[in-house]
């Protein structure tokens, strides 16, 4: 968008702008002994106020690394380039102390494992109060009162008593809700939730997703929801971005991506899913092979080795994200037009074989590179 507006207000007010967050050409490389791991290879997206953007992808697709980069939380050896614009500021260039003003206050993050994001030696209430007092000049007592209110909001019973509990006295679902309370303590504009319910049981997941929804409604925050679970995305996200091998390969509204995918990878994912709402012994259509190694990625489309539609051009030229037949729906495939009206079973075979070693398609299955 028009990021060149000069209004000189620091920190910038974002309420009157089209987008709360704009990420442009984000790249993250990790130097390793085996070579440069190109974890994120050019990610761009925008996030409108109150919007929920779901980022989906399998392990190693770069979805988590990208969000850590946005928050400036990657280890020092990571090479990050591109732009992360919040208001007029490019967050990527900022010093640690300047970034600290944005974290929590404007952009909050929720991680997968609540036990590691809460400090075990402080009470839950103390930690929420700390988050409030880091950005606001209020008394400890007032901050604790706010903490109780926040815990009540995210659905913790007997919040006034529970506020004095330590994290180990909370169950997994309650911990994650306490983390959500922490995240919304300063009315952020953006919440980044990285696999917020992956470690939880489904009935607890439903509770936590509900808490997240309430938290968003109360604060008016936009959200980036990173997950591998297409079911969670379907229910929560307005728009969906599919990542593969460090790049976005499809972006669109949830309906675009689920009902008219224009990238074979997305189609393959949908065909691989067993469905709770479909009975009978339907045959699944897996995607053959494994994701490519992010070290020495061969030229061409990274999905080509697994793609049943591949043509010679796919191995030479990596397709860019391009508009499809629906406005706002982009796909990175040379042949996205030919996916109109195609079902997963038309393209992928219902095979039970898996006989190509990852090495032969490049040394893949590399664990996700995180701090």
């Amino acid at each position: 968008m028009s990021g060149e507006l000069v209004d000189g207000v620091v920190p910038p007010s974002v309420s009157n702008r089209a987008n709360v967050l704009e990420v442009e050409n984000l790249r993250v490389d990790f130097p390793t002994d085996d070579g440069l791991v190109r974890a994120v290879r050019g990610l761009s997206y925008t996030l409108a106020p109150r919007e929920v953007l779901g980022i989906v992808g399998e392990s190693g697709s770069g979805k988590s690394v990208a969000s850590l980069a946005v928050m400036g939380l990657l280890p020092k050896n990571a090479r990050v380039s591109g732009q992360v614009r919040f208001g007029d500021e490019n967050l990527l260039g900022l010093s640690e102390s300047a970034l600290a003003r944005y974290r929590g206050e404007h952009i909050a993050m929720i991680f997968q494992d609540p036990m590691t994001s809460l400090n075990p030696v402080y009470t839950v209430g103390w930690q929420i109060a700390e988050a409030i007092r880091a950005h606001r000049n209020v008394s400890q007592r007032a901050a604790l009162e706010k903490a109780v209110e926040l815990l009540r909001l995210v659905g913790i019973p007997q919040a006034a008593d529970r506020v004095h509990n330590y994290p180990h006295e909370f169950s997994g679902g309650m911990r994650q809700r306490a983390v959500i309370a922490c995240a919304i303590a300063n009315d952020p504009d953006v919440i980044i939730a990285d696999e917020p319910t992956t470690a939880l049981d489904v009935t607890v997941q439903a509770q936590v997703l509900e808490s997240l929804r309430i938290a968003r409604e109360r604060t008016g925050a936009a959200m980036i929801l990173i997950t591998h679970d297409l079911g969670v995305v379907a229910g929560q996200a307005d728009r969906v971005l599919v990542m593969y091998a460090g790049k976005p390969v499809e972006v669109g509204t949830a309906d675009d991506v689920f009902y008219r995918p224009r990238m074979p990878y997305t189609l393959g994912l949908l065909g691989s899913l067993p469905r709770l709402d479909v009975g009978g012994r339907r045959r699944l259509t897996p995607i053959q092979g494994s994701p490519p190694s992010l070290i020495n990625l061969p030229p061409g489309c990274p999905f080509a080795p697994r793609c049943p539609m591949r043509q010679p051009i796919c191995q030479q030229e990596e397709p860019e994200l391009r508009p499809t037949d629906h406005p706002g729906h982009l796909a990175a495939c040379h042949f996205s037009d030919s996916l109109v009206g195609v079902a997963p079973s038309d393209l992928f075979r219902p095979t039970a074989r898996d006989d190509v070693l990852p090495e032969d398609a490049g040394d893949s299955a590399a664990p996700e590179v995180t701090a």
Partner: protein
């Protein structure tokens, strides 16, 4: 696969002999105190009075959330852990009291595939050796036909036999899980216990393993006990499903019957909580929200163990609630066409 008519009692269970039957299985683990003597201060009630049958060639899905005792059940069935009480019969023979040596012979018939394909394969053994190991242990490997047998097993599970001299780390997660399946198949078992066999895999890989398991079942007439937390996967593979909560079975039904008319409030909540990858359906769904968390299995609630979180319990009169508190609901058919462990069971359309 054959789909049995949904609402009627399981047709295959009345006239066929179960291959595996579990009766009143109980498994408690002692909780020891701190200090020098480490006295037993309590019991984790991991599995309580669980009974079910597994029929030849069928898949029974055992589903529940973490800590419900489904994995412990599978371990006790394999006699990897002795039951506190109750018995497990394989083809009529009680196996829970067998000695190690007697059990070894039976292990040919009952095999297990573990959840984590990264932890269940010896990283220093080439895949050939991993698959041959059970054959060697049971004295069924001879140097002439052995390698051919192993190659055949690799082909059977969809791997390339040429990769037999490679090590596990060279394979993807899905391929490693296939190696685990090949190892389990080596002795030509009749029952395979699959303990969360696909939950560590990405969806695009998981689908291939699920297809493989279906093919193998048809090819070798295997009976599967499919233990998993993901009800979508369980629905996809199972003929019948047993739902477990806090150590007890709460509902057992043919797959289609369970989804058409789930009758235990926990089953209903579980089905309603699982997200469906379909935005329009998902947005239109009404969720049954459970309050709170699973109670500790060290001190489970009296009577019905689900009552502390049960949405139905809250709507009952005091007298009715009394019954939930005092009386453990038996797992019996209360007019739903399949057994349900709820005093006030009534079917609800959830999907």
């Amino acid at each position: 696969m054959t789909l049995t008519e949904s609402a009627s009692p399981p047709a295959n269970s009345t006239n066929r002999e179960p291959i595996l039957s579990v009766r009143h299985l109980v498994k408690h683990f002692p909780v020891r105190g701190r200090g020098l003597i480490r006295r037993v201060v309590g019991q984790v009630h991991a599995v309580c009075d669980v009974s079910f049958d597994l029929y030849p060639g069928e898949t029974l899905g055992l589903v529940g959330e973490s800590g419900c005792g489904k994995t412990t059940t599978s371990r006790v069935i394999l006699n990897l852990q002795p039951p506190t009480s109750g018995e497990v019969r394989y083809q009529g023979q009680v196996i829970s009291s067998l000695s190690q040596r007697e059990m070894r012979r039976l292990r040919r018939d009952i095999q297990i595939v573990f959840q984590d394909p990264y932890a269940s394969l010896d990283p220093r053994m080439p895949v050939n050796e991993i698959i041959a190991e059970p054959l060697r242990i049971h004295g069924m490997y001879d140097s002439k036909s052995g390698p051919r047998q192993v190659a055949e097993l690799m082909r059977t599970v969809g791997l390339n036999p040429e990769h037999g001299n490679r090590y596990p780390h060279e394979f993807s997660g899905g391929q490693r899980q296939r190696i685990g399946v090949a190892r389990a198949l080596a002795l030509r078992p009749r029952v395979l216990v699959l303990d969360e066999p696909v939950s560590a895999l990405d969806v695009s890989i998981q689908a291939g393993v699920l297809n493989l398991l279906q093919d193998l079942q048809e090819q070798f007439a295997l009976a599967y006990l499919f233990v998993a937390h993901d009800l979508s996967v369980v629905r996809h593979v199972s003929n019948r499903i047993a739902v477990m909560y806090l150590g007890r079975l709460v509902e057992v039904a043919e797959t289609e019957a369970l989804f058409a008319a789930p009758s235990h409030p926990y089953t209903q909540a579980l089905i309603s909580a699982i997200p469906i990858p379909d935005p329009r359906k998902e947005r239109a769904r009404q969720r049954i929200m459970l309050s709170g968390d699973v109670p500790s299995p060290v001190d489970p609630p009296s009577g019905c163990r689900f009552r502390t979180r049960c949405p139905l319990f809250a709507t009952l009169t005091d007298a009715e609630q009394r019954r939930c508190i005092d009386e453990v609901p038996a797992l019996v058919d209360r007019g739903q066409g399949h057994p349900v462990a709820c005093h006030y069971a009534r079917p609800v359309q959830v999907l």
